[in-house]
Symmetry: C2
Subunit: 218 residues, 2 copies
C-alpha cells in the first residue's frame, strides 16, 4: 500500500537535491502565480503554453511511476517531499516550513498568494483546512503521539486575507492511540479559523499490542 523508496544518498547529496529539485519547484510556484494573474495577449499565452509542454516532456524523460511517497536516505532520514503542504518538491505546497517543539506544538509563518484564493481576496476556506490538518498532525507527532487524521473540525470566525499568515497547533490531551489537538490560522489581527483535531495511530503502525484494536480512523 505504501510507497517507501530507499536511496543511498549522503546528507550532502540530500542537501544538493533539496537545492536543485526544490529550486525547480520554487520557480514553478512563481509560474503558477503568473498563470493565474497574467493579462498578456492570447497569442503569447498560447506560445508560453507550447514551451511549457516541451519542458514537461523533458522532465518526464525519466520519472517515478507514481507519486513521490517517502524517500529514505542513506542516513535513515525520511523525505516526504511530494506532500501537498510541506513538500519542497511540490509546487502546490506553499511550502510550509513547520517548526516543532517536543511539548507537542507546531507552528509556521508563511504567505499565501493568488493560487490559494476562494472568495475574492480571501484564502479558500478549504486551504485553511488543508494547512490546519497538516499543522495539527505535526503537533501530535512532535509530542510523540503521531496519528492519521480521524476527525477535524474547522470553525470560521472571519475571512482569512491572502498575504502573510501564521498557523499553529498544540496537543490538548492524549488518550491511548488518540491525540487531541487544537490550532488556528490567522493574520496580524489574530485567529481567523480555529481547528480541533483527533489524530489516531493506525493499527499497522502500532508496535505494541496493548492499545485498543481499531480498524478505522474514525
Amino acid at each position: 500500500m505504501f510507497n517507501y523508496r530507499s536511496e543511498d544518498l549522503s546528507p550532502e547529496e540530500i542537501e544538493r537535491e533539496r537545492e536543485v529539485a526544490g529550486g525547480l519547484a520554487q520557480s514553478t510556484r512563481e509560474l503558477v502565480d503568473a498563470v493565474v494573474r497574467s493579462t498578456v495577449e492570447h497569442e503569447e499565452l498560447a506560445a508560453v503554453r507550447a514551451e511549457i509542454d516541451a519542458l514537461t516532456s523533458r522532465l518526464r524523460a525519466s520519472q517515478l511511476d507514481g507519486s513521490y511517497g517517502v524517500t529514505v536516505g542513506g542516513d535513515g532520514s525520511m523525505r516526504n517531499w511530494g506532500n501537498s503542504v510541506i513538500g519542497v518538491r511540490n509546487p502546490i505546497a506553499p511550502p510550509l516550513l513547520i517548526e516543532r517543539s517536543e511539548q507537542g506544538r507546531a507552528w509556521a509563518d508563511f504567505t499565501l498568494g493568488a493560487a490559494y484564493e476562494g472568495p475574492p481576496g480571501l484564502v479558500h476556506g478549504g486551504v485553511s483546512a488543508l494547512i490546519l490538518d497538516q499543522i495539527c498532525g505535526e503537533a501530535a507527532a512532535a509530542g510523540g503521539s503521531p496519528g492519521m487524521t480521524g476527525r477535524l473540525t474547522l470553525s470560521y470566525r472571519r475571512g482569512t486575507p491572502l498575504g502573510p499568515l501564521h498557523a499553529e497547533g498544540a496537543i490538548v490531551k492524549v488518550e491511548g492511540v488518540k491525540t487531541y489537538v487544537e490550532g488556528h490560522i490567522g493574520d496580524a489581527d489574530g485567529p481567523t479559523v480555529h481547528a480541533e483535531g483527533v489524530f489516531i495511530l493506525p493499527r499497522w503502525a502500532r508496535e505494541r499490542a496493548d492499545g485498543p484494536k481499531q480498524e478505522s480512523f474514525e
Copy 2:
C-alpha cells in the same frame, strides 16, 4: 474588500478566454506533476528551471495587481477562475467540474495525482477537506441558500487513494441564514471521508432585513 472586475466580453470571447488561458493552466498542471515526479539529472532540472523563470517573466509582462477575484462578463456572467478548487485558470485546482441540482445537491468526478499526496500513495487529508468545503458550499448555493463556511467537520473513515474519485454534497436543512450540508469523498469502494458543514449568508450579502443580525461566520 472584494475584488470584482468588469470586462466587456461577449460569451464567445469568454469561451475563447477559457480555451486559451484554461489551456495554459492545464499544461501547467502537467508541469507541476512532472516537477514532483521527475528523476532526470540535476543539470537538466536546473536547465528546465531557468526556462521556467523566463516563461514566468513573459507572463508577468502584464498582470493583475493581486489575485484573480471575480470577473463579471458583458452578459453579467461571473467567473471565479482563480479559485483553488474549481478555477480553470488556477494550476493548483484539479480543477473540479461540479454539477449541481436545484434540489441542493452538488457532485463531481475527478482524478487526483501526485501533487495531492499526503501519506504515501494517499490523498492528503487536508486536500479532501479542501474539496469537500467547495462541494458542500456549492450544494448550499445550488439549493438557493448560499453562504460562506461557518463550520466544517471532517470524519476520516479510511485512506483516500490517489486516482479517480467522486465527491458530493447535499443540503439537509435550512434555518434562516444557516444552511446545513452533508457530503463525502470516496473511491469506487465507497466513501472515505464524510463532511458536515454549516454555511452562513454573510451580513453584507443579505438583501432583506428580516434575517437574524450576525457579524461573524461562526
